[in-house]
């Protein structure tokens, strides 16, 4: 029977369209348990490839006859080996092109909505790792917020839309993934904006993002207004775009809130986090659509694949916004936190420009889920 290649983009469509898929993950057990491809209607079998070198007879009964089967490994090689054996044994199977490495890097651009004039707002969903980047497009100009390392994806998209990238902004110094901000700014001549309190140790020059700073995109002037909301980091800044969207960075997510410990200062920053969530955001219009920098579970995706919800809904539904007791809040965000993201210290140093690992090393540092939230 036939063996086919399936791209990360095709798998993403299956998640968004709520399709079924059977995943045979042939990485070792630790890697699988730490991080895998998530889908509402996906089912899984994890058998390390090294247990299948002598043949796949032993697992044939565990594989479905009526579902698409996708074989997944770290980089592709082992999944091709196993998929070939399954295909020789009479099954129609696919393997994931580029493996989990490609899965981690895939970005799906999805339109969030129209802005003033002919403006548009796009969300770039990094489906495998849960990172969200944004592009504001208006009258030949673009601003990118929280771009991930895959800078060319944003540049190609801008070219397709016939816009010049003028501004690149980071809501904070990221600890779970490597920012593409600096590279994008260097390649396009755009200004690179960073919250100065997060940038005290950076080794390159940048534009400081101060509270209430306004950045315009395009001639019809779409406003990006900065709002100082510390807590995940001391510099964490939110953006209000066109009076309609609230980009919350890693302070507020759809179903959780940011963790204050990734720069080693949970106890100092918990008060800031509370103030940002319970005072600053409360003063804003409930009609603003919250667009965070991450999602953690597929249930946070809307039907069209975007991640976003009205602030008013989050005030009602998000547990992290409904802890009235200050002491209980402090306990929640400083105790029993999930494990820290892979290589988060090295990632922070890379984002400060202190170290410059090669691409292969950068990929390895980013392996795994983002883990920026507390629930």
């Amino acid at each position: 029977m036939a063996m086919q290649e399936m791209t990360a983009g095709q798998v993403t469509k299956k998640i968004i369209n709520n399709e079924e898929l059977f995943i045979l993950d042939v990485r070792n057990q630790d890697a699988f348990e730490d991080w895998k491809i998530e889908g509402y209607r996906f089912s899984y079998l994890n058998i390390p490839y090294f247990e299948l070198i002598d043949g796949v007879k032993g697992i044939m009964e565990q594989l479905p006859k009526d579902k698409d089967i996708l074989v997944v490994c770290a980089k592709e090689g082992s999944s091709v080996m196993v998929a070939e054996m399954l295909s020789e044994a009479g099954l129609d199977v696919s393997y994931l092109k580029g493996g989990m490495k490609a899965w981690s890097e895939h970005l799906e651009p999805i339109k969030v909505g129209d802005l003033n004039g002919n403006g548009e707002l796009y969300q770039f969903v990094r489906i495998g790792k849960g990172c969200l980047s944004y592009m504001v497009v208006s009258d030949g100009e673009a601003a990118i917020i929280d771009p991930t390392r895959m800078a060319t994806v944003f540049m190609d998209f801008a070219e397709e839309k016939h816009v010049a990238i003028k501004h690149v902004l980071d809501t904070h110094l990221h600890a779970d993934h490597i920012s593409g901000g600096r590279v994008l700014a260097e390649k396009t001549g755009a200004s690179y904006w960073l919250p100065p309190r997060d940038a005290t140790e950076v080794t390159f020059s940048y534009q400081p993002l101060e509270d209430e700073q306004v950045i315009h995109v395009g001639t019809t002037k779409i406003d990006i207004q900065a709002l100082y909301t510390p807590g995940h980091t001391i510099g964490s800044t939110s953006f209000i775009i066109d009076q309609a969207y609230l980009l919350t960075g890693d302070i507020l997510f759809i179903d959780s809130i940011g963790r204050p410990d990734l720069a080693g200062k949970a106890d100092d920053w918990v008060g800031d986090l509370r103030k940002s969530l319970y005072t600053r955001y409360q003063q804003l219009s409930e009609e603003l659509v919250v667009l965070p920098a991450h999602f953690m579970i597929m249930a946070e995706l809307n039907e069209d694949g975007t991640v976003g919800k009205k602030l008013g809904d989050l005030f009602k539904e998000n547990h992290g916004l409904n802890v009235t007791d200050e002491h209980a809040f402090r306990k929640m965000v400083t105790e029993n936190l999930p494990p820290q993201p892979n290589a988060y210290q090295e990632i922070r140093e890379t984002n400060m420009g202190k170290i410059t690992p090669d691409t292969e090393k950068q990929r390895e540092m980013e392996i795994g889920p983002n883990r920026c939230a507390v629930r």
């Binding site: 630790d30 490839y49 090294f50 980089k75 090689g77 080996m81």
Partner: protein, 76 residues
């Protein structure tokens, strides 16, 4: 460290380092040691997991100039 046999798997990508290792260790007697050289970073966790599941023991692993070396003692 004394090895009974040395396997050069440098430049090979996954799954080949483990495929070759499996073959090489099959030719050894229990208690004998196989030395493996690989440049595939992923080999580290995979060889460890493979050795564990097969009852073999990793005696030592070092990394020098991008080459990872393992010494694996064949299990009973």
């Amino acid at each position: 460290m004394e090895a009974t046999k040395v396997l050069d798997a440098k430049g090979l990508a996954c799954p080949m380092p483990i495929v070759r290792t499996k073959k090489a260790i099959a030719e050894l007697e229990p208690g004998e040691v196989l030395e493996i050289h690989t440049t595939d970073q992923g080999s580290k966790s995979d060889l460890t997991a493979w050795a564990k599941s097969g009852g073999h023991e990793i005696l030592e692993d070092v990394e020098e100039d991008g080459v990872i070396k393992f010494w694996i003692k064949k299990g009973e």
